[in-house]
């Protein structure tokens, strides 16, 4: 099931350049609860980076903070060297940071095609049409169902739609929050095959996952988030071999 694709070596070569995304000591609160207490990480262009952590570790808070829909109370987010810590959600999408949210969150009462077109909200009409063609080429199933209401799709199809909708915004960095959530093992495999295919085509991807095994086995680089802090990092396969990770997340 696991197919390594050798970009681990490529990423080590790129270590000299500035990372595409750099998160430095990020802090965020939900009311009085401190959900992020110092998350730091870097994602380099062309990499697939996975962050794993248990339920409640702060994964979704981190993703929302990256997309600008969750307030940040300390630390910095740099995108291609620019400080975007205070940028609006819209500005980040336009800059190329696009998220597939946890639980997919497709617009259920709207058609599949309307969902896709909304993904291109920040893009020109021409880019919207081009994006639609690309999305249908990538996911022919969505083309067959384009007039159907998104809420009537199966879980796997909704995940496809959520990813395709995010691609409509022409991301430079694709964020995926818990892509395996609520999917059967077969659909989890399918979803991760799609993610690997995107990575192979050159998309830079940062994903957070509770399913540490599936995420770390395809990641160039991995992080472990615990209690709102990044506590461990290393190449994805190496983290899988790490005793602490094995014990805490893989139940070995």
């Amino acid at each position: 099931m696991v197919i390594g694709h050798g970009s681990v070596d490529m990423s080590t070569q790129r270590h000299a350049t500035t990372p595409m995304l750099e998160v430095i000591d990020l802090q965020s609160r939900h009311g009085r609860i401190q959900a992020l207490k110092g998350a730091s990480l870097a994602v380099r262009a062309g990499q697939l980076v996975a962050l794993v952590g248990a339920n409640g570790a702060g994964k979704t808070t981190l993703m929302r903070a990256l997309s600008g829909v969750q307030p940040v109370h300390g630390g910095q987010i740099l995108f291609e060297g620019r400080d975007i810590t205070r940028a609006t959600a819209g500005a980040r999408v336009r800059a190329g940071i696009v998220q597939v949210p946890e639980g997919r969150r497709v617009f259920g009462p709207m058609s599949v095609e309307d969902n896709l077109r909304l993904g291109a909200f920040t893009r020109s009409r021409r880019e919207e049409e081009e994006g639609l063609e690309r999305a249908y080429a990538l996911f022919p199933r969505l083309k067959d169902r384009r007039r159907q209401l998104a809420g009537t799709l199966s879980g796997g199809e909704q995940q496809m739609l959520a990813i395709a909708r995010a691609l409509m915004a022409r991301p430079r960095l694709l964020l995926l929050d818990e892509p395996s959530m609520g999917l059967s093992p077969l659909l989890v495999d399918q979803t991760f095959e799609t993610i690997q295919r995107l990575a192979k085509d050159g998309m830079t991807i940062f994903l957070v996952e509770q399913n540490a095994f599936v995420a770390l086995s395809i990641a160039d680089h991995g992080y472990v988030l615990e209690g709102g802090r990044t506590v461990l990092d290393g190449p994805g396969r190496a983290l899988l071999e790490d005793d602490r990770v094995k014990e805490a997340y893989l139940g070995v």
Partner: protein, 291 residues
């Protein structure tokens, strides 16, 4: 018998269409922000009163109407910009209370800037009644019906065929997901207030020839529009229009067959009934929402 019934029906449909237009304003703002805007009736008042005073200043009626609607739209924008956005942390209940405050403020301002008197507006095309099976129908009623149909068609087009309209739908379904597409919710909330204010002002211009207009005209009309929106299921634009017609007809029948003293009670009995027994409205669509 028939002529009497028809008479009540015509009058019910006429006021019902007005309630529907006002209810539509409630629905549009509710969809964008989950705020129930209790200053909706004041937009109706501004539409009518501004038209009266602009015409008194010598402007021709069409120009006065356009300026009055634009003025109400500006007030709507200011309410969203100053009242709603600066109080983002206040929560929905806090924001609703702010709209109640705005409604009182606008009524007070209208009495100071304009006056406390009742003013008629001329009907769009005279007031020679049309006779239908022994009942009479005012030309203004036909204008109101035509305006309602035109507005419905325009809104249908806006929500189904424009990018902004679809973004408004998406934001109503799932604001967080909409933001992740780069949709600016604050802009949509402002737009919803502008749109609702314009719709309310138009209702105010259309109803003034029948009921006259005055600084407090929005109190009752706003509540009836709210009843329409509740009956239609809050946040359902077509439901609000249908709800308006239901409330209007129920009111006219009660006034005709029982007593006009009971007229205003009907709307509130309907609100209570719907809230108690049909919380999604008569045409309630189940909430489609997935976390």
């Amino acid at each position: 018998m028939l002529s009497e019934f028809l008479q009540f029906l015509f009058s019910g449909l006429t006021v019902g269409a007005i309630y529907g237009l006002i209810g539509l304003g409630f629905a549009v703002i509710y969809n964008a922000s989950h705020v129930i805007n209790f200053a909706q009736g004041e937009f109706v008042m501004i539409g009518g009163m501004a038209t009266v005073f602009l015409m008194a200043a010598g402007l021709p009626m069409p120009l006065a109407v356009v300026l009055a609607i634009a003025g109400a739209a500006l007030v709507g924008w200011l309410l969203a910009r100053i009242g709603i956005e600066t109080a983002r942390g206040a929560g929905v209940v806090g924001l609703i209370i702010i709209t109640i405050g705005a409604s009182i403020l606008l009524r007070g301002l209208a009495q100071v800037v304009w006056d406390r008197n009742f003013h008629p507006l001329p009907p769009i095309s005279g007031d020679a009644p049309i006779h239908v099976f022994g009942a009479t129908l005012l030309p203004q009623s036909l204008w109101i019906g035509a305006a309602l149909i035109a507005i419905m068609a325009a809104l249908r087009f806006f929500f189904d065929h424009t990018r902004t309209g679809k973004a408004m739908q998406a934001a109503a379904i799932d604001p967080l997901a909409a933001q992740l597409m780069g949709i600016d919710i604050r802009r949509l909330v402002r737009l919803s207030f502008v749109l609702s204010a314009a719709l309310g002002a138009l209702a105010g211009v259309l109803v003034a020839p029948i009921t006259m207009t005055y600084a407090n005209v929005g109190v009752m009309l706003g509540l009836k529009g709210f009843a329409a929106a509740i009956v239609g299921g809050l946040g359902n634009p077509l439901g609000a229009i249908a709800g308006g017609l239901v409330v209007g007809i129920a009111e006219a029948m009660t006034a005709g067959y029982l007593s006009s003293a009971w007229k205003d009670v009907v709307a509130f009995v309907i609100i209570l009934f719907v809230l108690l027994f049909l919380p999604n409205g008569l045409f309630g669509r189940a909430e489609v929402h997935r976390a």
